[in-house]
């Protein structure tokens, strides 16, 4: 009695199921391999999301629609989105440093990786070889979601309640890492800003728009005052003033030469 032969013999693996598996399994595997090999961190994250998505669909294939969609919503939707945010947080061009900071890290990683692979292989071999699947129909008798609820909220109620403690830890940890504490007086309020604006020596009115009455409408072109001089205040200090060459300032050919 082995699981694979049993399933094939009894015809529980339909053609559609087999086809979907053979399409999705290479995608999932390719995504996982690509994630390790991709140069850009965002590409890695995307390939990982692709793998997660394929796994979600595979769960649905195994008559677990709820867990399949949860995989897509929570892993692909929420957790991978957090990954993407973190990658953008550190900058798109940052690369992994290839310098080893821990001695023997690479050797240990290889050893542990092989160990993990061996563990997985033995587990799989046992699973395919000598375990018989039972109870799928009973578990889904009242519907998949109801079945999960019946187990989760009665048999595994302790694990369920402990999850909430895990969620607290996640929220508190994120706060400790990412939150910048601010006291009330740290930022100038509307009133302080308003006072600053009307202080002596500061012109309270709006700045002249750049490029007004000028030869170009770029923000880098200063506005002209009525007497023809350039207004200093119309230019943002971060924008370098662009000197237009006569060729650039001349009318372009786009208006068909109708205007001078």
């Amino acid at each position: 009695m082995n699981l694979l032969a049993d399933a094939l013999a009894s015809g529980t693996v339909t053609t559609g199921e087999a086809v979907t598996f053979w399409i999705l399994a290479p995608i999932a595997l390719g995504g996982a391999i690509g994630m390790v090999l991709a140069r850009s961190a965002v590409h890695s994250a995307l390939l990982l999301a692709c793998t997660m998505l394929s796994l979600g669909v595979l769960y649905m294939l195994q008559s677990g629609p709820f867990i399949g969609f949860v995989q897509i919503i929570v892993y692909t939707g929420a957790i991978m989105m957090l990954f993407l945010f973190v990658i953008m947080l550190v900058g798109r061009d940052s690369r992994d440093s290839l310098l080893e900071t821990l001695r023997g890290q690479r050797l240990a990683a290889i050893g542990l990786g092989i160990g993990m692979a061996l563990l997985l292989c033995t587990g799989l071999a046992r699973g395919i070889g000598s375990v018989t699947a039972v109870g799928l129909d009973e578990a889904n008798a009242n519907g998949n979601v109801q079945g999960i609820a019946a187990d989760l909220f009665t048999k595994y109620v302790f694990a369920f309640e402990v999850t909430s403690a895990l969620l607290i830890t996640a929220a508190v940890g994120a706060m400790l890492l990412a939150h910048v504490e601010r006291r009330k007086g740290d930022r100038p309020g509307q009133k302080e800003l308003s006072r600053l604006r009307f202080r002596k020596g500061n012109y309270p009115g709006p700045k002249a728009g750049p490029g007004v009455f000028a030869t170009s409408d770029s923000v880098a072109t200063p506005a002209l005052l009525p007497d023809g001089t350039e207004s200093e205040r119309s230019i943002s200090p971060v924008v370098p003033v662009r000197e237009l060459t006569p060729a650039e300032a001349a009318p372009k050919g786009t208006d068909g030469g109708k205007r001078k």
Binding site: L61, I79, L167, A170, A171
Partner: protein, 119 residues
């Protein structure tokens, strides 16, 4: 299994439409090279050079994403509970109130520390 087939069909139609649009626009539209046109749009000035690490953004968004995960998981637990509520009875009600209350502690903590304030 038969229930998922139609979704795949609709997905395939949408994907075909998206690919045809993207490829078709490439073929149908003109192509006139212009150096300025291929720059990032920044109101006519030279594009801001990105910093040493590329485009970085506030860490605030990380906190939002983390809170999103926390509540997403809570919601995922709420769905089967809601569907099977009638069969779980009073016991199910009490345990979910406990769960919501525990997550609410985290929520209040984040609120009190100012983690939900934007400026």
């Amino acid at each position: 299994m038969e229930l998922y087939g139609p979704i795949v069909v609709l997905f395939a139609i949408a994907l075909a439409f998206a690919i045809i649009s993207v490829v078709g626009a490439r073929l149908a539209g003109p192509r006139r090279f212009n150096r300025a046109k291929n720059e990032a749009y920044e109101c006519g000035i030279e594009p801001t050079p990105t910093g040493p690490g590329g485009g970085k953004f506030p860490i605030k968004f990380y906190l939002t994403a983390m809170l999103f995960i926390v509540f997403d998981i809570e919601i995922i637990f709420l769905y089967p509970w809601a569907v099977a509520f009638d069969s779980l009875g009073l016991f199910g009600f009490v345990e979910m109130v406990l769960f919501i209350a525990t997550v609410f502690i985290a929520y209040t903590y984040v609120w009190r520390r100012g983690g939900l304030d934007w400026d």
